[in-house]
């Protein structure tokens, strides 16, 4: 509320909607966006890219993280790549990727390069924290590799996987939209933002920003909801059993 107030006062004082439109103008622009037909297409394109890159980061980061945690050579091989990944500015990744790939792929690729190290490092460090005593117990009690993976490694890693997923998820939205701004694929929130900026439609740029914030927030909420799902399922199952009695 206070932010809205400051925004309103600032916009009134400046009195130049190209530089800072009033909240009312912005919300009007937002309403215009929301009523324009290809909106779903624009949003879904961005959401689709974000989800796909997140899933790729999640799968590859977890798998390679576990592998590198157990095998020194994999760690030694990936370490320099990781350092480069972390040190490269997001924008140069996007620009380079644009030279190599089509505009639709660039957001995926850039988001992967930015998000993967976060996920990977979390999981790899998680592997180091797996209790050697429990590991020894699984060896003595004849656990197969599969059993060890499902009953020791993955449960031990769950906190690290969640932390890594959370961090990489919020990064994915930003990188995907940034890549869309620079590469302007046919559909995408970032593309629209770029178009609006070129046309000096500042209210529309802000409106798209609101859409982006909304998407990120919904994404985080959904992620948390998914995390709570197993607990709810268990509770539901337990109450079902109670009722059957």
């Amino acid at each position: 509320m206070m932010l809205l107030g400051i925004w309103q006062v600032g916009a009134t004082l400046l009195d130049a909607s190209v530089i800072l439109p009033t909240p009312a103008e912005t919300f009007r622009a937002l309403a215009r966006l929301l009523s324009r037909p290809p909106l779903a297409l624009q949003v879904m394109a961005t959401v689709g890219r974000a989800i796909r890159s997140f899933l790729i980061i999640f799968a590859v980061g977890t798998a390679l993280g576990i592998l590198a945690g157990y095998a020194r050579p994999v760690h030694a091989f990936l370490q320099p790549l990781l350092v480069i990944c972390k040190a490269t500015p997001v924008m140069s990744v996007i620009l380079l990727a644009f030279i190599w790939f089509s505009s639709g792929t660039v957001p995926l690729f850039s988001a992967f390069l930015m998000g993967f190290p976060v996920m990977f490092v979390q999981v790899e460090q998680g592997v180091r924290l797996i209790s050697p005593q429990l590991h020894e117990m699984t060896v003595l009690y004849g656990f197969s590799s599969r059993m060890r993976l499902f009953h020791l490694v993955i449960p031990s890693l769950t906190p690290s996987i969640i932390t890594g997923a959370k961090a990489s998820l919020s990064m994915v939205w930003k990188v995907v939209i940034a890549a869309e701004v620079l590469t302007v694929p046919r559909y995408g929130v970032g593309s629209r933002m770029q178009m609006a900026q070129v046309n000096l439609e500042t209210a529309e740029v802000l409106a798209w920003t609101l859409v982006a914030i909304f998407l990120t927030a919904v994404g985080d909420m959904l992620f948390l909801a998914i995390l709570k799902l197993p607990k709810h399922i268990r509770a539901a199952r337990a109450s079902m059993k109670e009722m059957m009695r």
Binding site: Q133, M137, L140, F143
Partner: protein, 237 residues
């Protein structure tokens, strides 16, 4: 089980640490042999060699047909999987031996009942006391078809009344299903109550100082018995 001329040396921070030097020991089949010795004398190392967690530098360990195969191990800590229930912790070790889920669950429950935790089968380890967790570990060790049992001071961290009740629980299960057992401890009382043979060990490198065979049936043993007091005294000198 026959251990012959075992050597084992560790290198710690550049220094060599001879733990076992030409160590030999015979453990009769289907008996409990207690190894009593000071901390750090190499008892645990010996267990790890028998359990094939490590290889000796020299020497050999031979087991007979009844002893060859999987091994049930009781550790100083319960070492339960914290995300699984008591039941799942016991049931899991039965999986490599097939049988369907119902049979495995039934067998796991049977042992959980035998250690007196039937009402706690659905609990997670963190919801149990230390003694109860160690009971679960005992149930797991007996449910698992280990051909030998290796015990590494499993009752040490518990207070004395709890310790005796666990020792009793262990012996009850053991009498019903005898397996060659090596039992490492530094508690002489526990050793003389539980073992068929008590072996006194020196500090590192570990040697056998003396060997006592105890013929008194386990049920008739009491720590107040003069013979036992004398035996305990021998260990403390």
């Amino acid at each position: 089980m026959r251990a012959q001329h075992l050597d084992k040396t560790y290198v710690v921070a550049g220094k060599t640490l001879p733990v076992l030097e030409d160590f030999s020991l015979i453990v009769p089949t289907d008996t409990i042999t207690a190894l009593v010795g000071p901390s750090g004398c190499g008892k645990t190392t010996f267990l790890r060699l028998v359990g094939e967690l490590e290889q000796p530098d020299r020497g050999s360990i031979t087991k007979n047909g009844k002893e060859e195969g999987p091994i049930s191990y009781l550790f100083q800590e319960p070492r339960l999987l914290p995300w699984h229930t008591v039941l799942a912790n016991v049931e899991l070790v039965l999986r490599p031996f097939g049988a369907d889920h119902h049979e495995r669950t039934a067998k796991a429950m049977e042992f959980i009942e035998l250690v007196g935790l039937a009402d706690y089968a659905k609990f997670k380890p963190e919801q149990l006391s230390g003694g109860m967790r160690q009971r679960v570990a005992i149930a797991r060790a007996f449910a698992y078809p280990g051909r030998m049992m290796l015990l590494d001071e499993p009752f040490q961290s518990l207070d004395s009344s709890l310790r005796w009740s666990l020792v009793k629980a262990f012996l009850r299960l053991w009498e019903a299903d005898k397996r060659t057992t090596v039992y490492v401890t530094h508690d002489v009382q526990e050793a003389v109550l539980m073992a068929d043979t008590v072996i006194r060990l020196s500090s590192r490198p570990m040697r056998i100082i003396e060997r006592h065979d105890i013929d008194t049936p386990r049920n008739d043993r009491s720590l107040g018995d003069p013979a036992f007091i004398a035996l305990q005294a021998a260990f403390y000198t």
